[in-house]
């Protein structure tokens, strides 16, 4: 103990500076973005006051917050509708993406044959596909789900496929030497090896499924068929209800951030013991 204490006392100027800088960075990482954010909101408020901007054009932050509180019932019930589509489509994207990736991993031929279809689905703008879906699908929820799924499944599929194919050659030989079956190789080698890739795809897909859900509602909402947050935004736009527009927007952003944080946490918890990406930096 005393030896360690002596060591700290005996820090040379360079090491002492490094310790100070680390401490500063630790605090600054949280404090700095927060301070900038508060500054930006304050500036927003001031701009409104200085220029006498009416609240149906740019509401003051306080008014937005007030609206968020007053319209909570309406907004949150809409948020719930959007969230349901988001999570269902994310779930389907996981099942579909991983399922297809496992199928692709069974043979190069399957992958070569079917991957172009996945790319076609990915690169065609969902807004352009929706009118077709609208013709072929009757059920409102199914429509939205299909839309959000098309947007969200690709990163999971492409990442998981990459992961399943990036197994160490020697490990593959080891499994072969021990007479592993195809299923054993998938279960004990390829799926765990693909896990970091899959989780990376999942993080992207989480945000995309929210975007997919909102965009789908927008397109569907234009024909007056939806009750999600997007339709609240369209409605508020028609009525020049800018405070509610802002409130709904903030709610969507916060939801997106929350989804990202939760998925990041899940990823960290799964990978923290073994994967480079989850290891704490050591000097």
């Amino acid at each position: 103990m005393t030896a360690i204490e002596e060591q700290i006392l005996a820090l040379d100027p360079e090491e002492a500076r490094r310790v100070r800088q680390e401490r500063f960075e630790r605090i600054g990482r949280w404090l700095l973005p927060l301070a900038i954010m508060i500054l930006a909101i304050w500036l927003w408020d001031r701009v409104c006051v200085w220029n006498d901007i009416p609240k149906y054009i740019l509401p003051r932050p306080g008014v937005v917050l007030q609206t968020l509180h007053d319209d909570a019932g309406l907004l949150f019930s809409s948020l719930l509708v959007t969230l349901r589509i988001t999570f269902l489509s994310l779930l389907l994207a996981v099942v579909g993406g991983v399922g297809l990736a496992v199928l692709f991993a069974q043979s190069k031929w399957v992958e070569m044959s079917f991957f172009p279809f996945a790319i076609v689905l990915q690169v065609t703008p969902i807004v352009a596909i929706f009118p077709l879906i609208n013709i072929y699908v009757d059920n409102q929820t199914t429509k939205l789900l299909l839309c959000a799924w098309i947007v969200a499944f690709f990163p999971i599929l492409s990442n998981t496929t990459l992961g399943l194919n990036s197994v160490d050659r020697n490990l593959r030989d080891l499994f072969k030497l021990n007479g592993a079956t195809r299923w054993q190789q998938l279960r004990y080698l390829r799926l765990p090896a693909a896990m970091p890739y899959f989780l990376g795809g999942l993080k992207i897909a989480g945000g995309l499924s929210l975007i997919g859900a909102v965009v789908a509602e927008f397109v569907a909402g234009a024909t007056g068929q939806s009750s999600g947050l997007a339709s609240r935004i369209i409605e508020a736009g028609y009525r020049l209800n800018a405070p509610r527009l802002f409130a709904a927007l903030i709610l969507i952003s916060l939801t997106g951030i929350l989804i990202f944080l939760v998925l990041s946490l899940i990823s960290h918890l799964i990978l923290r013991r073994w994967h480079e990406s989850a290891l704490r930096q050591e000097r």
């Binding site: 072969k176 021990n178 007479g179 054993q184 004990y188 073994w274 994967h275």
Partner: protein, 280 residues
């Protein structure tokens, strides 16, 4: 250059023939002749080193023996009685393989890594536990069952790799430059422990290395290979008795044997004619 037989008397651990390579050749699809007309007899209980410059086909030979690759010409004759004698390729379940890198599952802890070969054969965790724990004790890793590979040093990872290869009690252990990436002190320790294990269990080892000193210290037979095409150049019997320890490592006998092996190796390297003299 003619084939030079330095010594032909049997080594200190004779046994019946386990595997004979007869006229074995391997030509890759890109036209490279990795091995040409290899004649090699491996006896039960042998600690046989394949020594040679890079590109001499030592690793290819090991992969052929493991059944991970098939020869273009010639046969591998597993003539030994028992489980190994079934086919030309051999029963893989009776082969242990240690790669150049530890090649562990990074997400699995030490126990699960050693359990893996048994698990693939359908042995449950509980049933496998005694064998796994015994092997871990044999490689001096008791107490590290729950560590994941990244928490271990390079030498410890290699120990796990050896434990995994040995947990099925294979009759033959194939090692592909297993200690090449380790520091000298760690390598010496692992050499000693490997010899100890080998003397206790009496399995057969084929050990690929490019270190003269390592091959002489470990083996009773050193097979020197030459490159382009990969072939057996000469065989050297190392007649020093086992157990070999640190005293042997510093003995004049060892130095003399190393010198002898070095000379043969230099001969093998010089026998590789042509412009591409120093590797690929």
């Amino acid at each position: 250059m003619k084939l030079e037989k330095v010594a032909q008397q049997p080594g200190s651990v004779p046994g019946p023939t386990l595997l004979a390579l007869r006229g074995v050749g391997k030509v890759f699809s890109n036209g490279v002749t990795a091995l040409s007309n290899v004649e090699l007899t491996i006896r039960e209980g042998d600690f046989l080193s394949l020594l040679g410059p890079s590109g001499c086909g030592k690793s290819t030979a090991l992969r052929l023996i493991a059944g991970l690759s098939t020869p273009t010409s010639g046969v591998l004759d597993w003539r030994g009685s028992g489980a190994l004698g079934r086919s030309n390729i051999g029963d893989r379940s009776n082969i242990g393989f240690v790669f150049q890198e530890p090649t562990l599952l990074p997400w699995a802890d030490v126990f699960d890594n050693v359990w893996l070969p048994l698990r693939l054969k359908g042995v449950s965790r509980a049933k496998a536990a005694p064998a796994v724990m015994e092997m871990l004790a044999r490689v001096h890793l008791t107490g590290f069952e729950n560590a994941v590979p990244r928490e271990l040093s390079g030498g410890m990872k290699m120990r796990v790799s050896i434990a995994r290869a040995m947990v099925t009690k294979p009759r033959i252990l194939l090692m592909d430059e297993p200690f090449a990436a380790l520091d000298e002190i760690t390598r010496f320790k692992l050499n000693n422990d490997l010899l100890e294990l080998w003397q206790d269990e009496r399995f057969t080892v084929v050990f690929v290395t490019h270190s003269v000193f390592e091959s002489v210290f470990l083996s009773n037979r050193v097979v020197v290979m030459a490159a382009r095409p990969g072939r057996v150049f000469a065989e050297l019997a190392v007649d020093a008795p086992y157990p070999r320890d640190e005293a042997f490592r510093t003995s004049p006998d060892y130095a003399a044997l190393c010198r002898q092996a070095s000379d043969v190796l230099i001969g093998a390297i010089n026998s590789t004619a042509g412009p591409h003299h120093d590797g690929h």
